[in-house]
């Protein structure tokens, strides 16, 4: 099976290097970053491309664009892992639409287009009889989409809730453990590379809200968008609040929850007993799916990271390879 990778940031590099190392029967025929690209229908030397990217900042020829690869490359699956834009979903949206319209499968880690245009994109994929898979958009390495779509197939899902942002979880863990203020814990998370220079996206709960929108649409195809999410972040929490919760053998976590029967789509800091399965430490994620037959299922794992997210992307790729590409 041939794939083209658009985006060579942390996730793209993770995917490319794991494909090169593991020999999963997948040939990379196109790679592009934001400024350059490289194509070879016979298969790209991934190690050489990654080395060039590290040295020069470019992965290939500046004359070759991501869009040109998406629209004209020889591939079976487009791997769209460019940075997320929550306002427009671009440039990923254009790449994904182009590939689907040409009858190509798509695997993406990009929350922007999936949260903004979920119904449009899944309808487009269906229209052209191809797969659009997005496991990496929600909770990194945790195979929550596969669990819902396949493992729990036939169940009625009543609710989903969980810790879906590692940055917030790290900050809250440190505030509870060491009595740090929010600002101190955030500074530490920045130093360790867990928080961006502008942490708004994470700490205001927007990142969690996007994941909720994607999960809600996956399960109920209910067309909800970011505007429908009631969203409160963790940036106004005090160290004293964590101490007060601790005095009751509880702690605080940023929880995203979808309960359609109650009309609930909410991100908010919540009090949970310390022994609760969703009380995970540091940058871990945890998500619970409540169903009619299976009861409650909780999955815990790493929510971010280059190789961890690559795990989700590669899982999607192999699902397509095994189930949807003739002759593999």
């Amino acid at each position: 099976m041939r794939v083209a990778i658009l985006g060579l940031g942390s996730v793209g590099r993770g995917v490319a290097s794991m494909l090169a190392r593991k020999g999963l029967g997948i040939t990379v025929t196109g790679i592009a970053d934001s400024k350059s690209g490289v194509c070879d229908p016979a298969g790209i030397d991934i190690a050489a491309v990654l080395e060039k990217k590290a040295k020069t900042g470019l992965c290939g020829d500046p004359a070759v664009t991501a869009r040109a690869i998406a629209e004209g490359g020889e591939y079976d699956v487009l791997v769209e892992v460019t940075p997320t834009d929550v306002e427009t979903g671009e440039p990923a949206l254009t790449h994904i639409r182009a590939a689907l319209a040409m009858g190509k499968h798509v695997v993406t880690s990009n929350k922007g287009p999936m949260a903004l245009y979920f119904r449009d994109l899944t309808a487009l994929a269906e229209e052209h009889g191809v797969q659009l898979r997005y496991e990496a958009t929600v909770c990194g390495a945790i195979p929550i989409i596969q669990t819902i779509q396949h493992g729990l197939a036939g169940n009625t899902v009543h609710a989903v809730y969980g810790v879906m942002n590692g940055t917030c979880n790290y900050i809250l863990t440190r505030m509870a453990d060491e009595g740090l203020t929010y600002d101190q814990a955030l500074a530490e998370a920045r130093e360790l590379g867990y928080a961006e220079a502008d942490p708004t996206f994470d700490v205001k709960g927007i990142d969690t809200a996007l994941k909720l929108v994607i999960l809600a649409n996956t399960i109920w195809n209910n067309g909800v968008t970011l505007k429908d999410v009631e969203c409160t972040g963790i940036d106004l929490l005090t160290a004293e609040a964590l101490t007060l919760a601790g005095s009751q053998n509880s702690t605080i976590r940023l929880i995203g929850e979808v309960v359609p029967e109650m009309g609930l789509l909410r991100v908010s800091p919540r009090i949970l007993p310390k022994k609760h399965p969703l009380v995970v430490r540091d940058t871990l994620n945890a998500v619970t799916v409540v169903t009619d037959m299976a009861g409650a299922i909780t999955e815990v794992g790493k929510g971010a990271g280059s190789v961890e997210t690559a795990s989700a992307v590669i899982g999607d790729l192999l699902f397509i390879k095994n189930c949807h590409v003739k002759g593999h």
Partner: protein, 163 residues
Amino acid sequence: MKIEVKDAPGQLVAALRPISDAGGNIMAVIHEWDPTLRPKTRIVQVVLDLPEERLDGLITTLKAAGVTILRLGEERLLLKRSVIMIGHLMHTDLSDTVGQIDRTGYAEVVEMHMTMPGIAQRSSALLTISATNRTHMDEAVKILRTVAKKKDLLLVEPLEEVA
């Protein structure tokens, strides 16, 4: 609750055991003797503390054990929930915030722990609310949400799970 048990050895214990099994805390057992009663029966009043969600299960078990429940006093049910409020609690009239819950008649703030790190800084308080049942508790928390929004306070609620 008021129950009717047979006047025979071991019958009272058999009636009380399901309450303990359901996680109930028996606070008082009062025997009532009534000459108008059917012969060979006794009326017993049991005061107990039990999480509301376990009540239906207990009733089923008691009925299956042949115990007749004569009356169930819901006002005895106690439900507690703790929330945390963060913000300028004193400057936004804390007694009014608490009063809005207490005035409902069905819920009240029974405990409060507060920390105020500095005059200009936001304070944090843990409020424990007691209510007679779940609906009333939800109503009380709804009032707090409205107050918090109006007074620009952050309300941190416990995670109530859908089971």
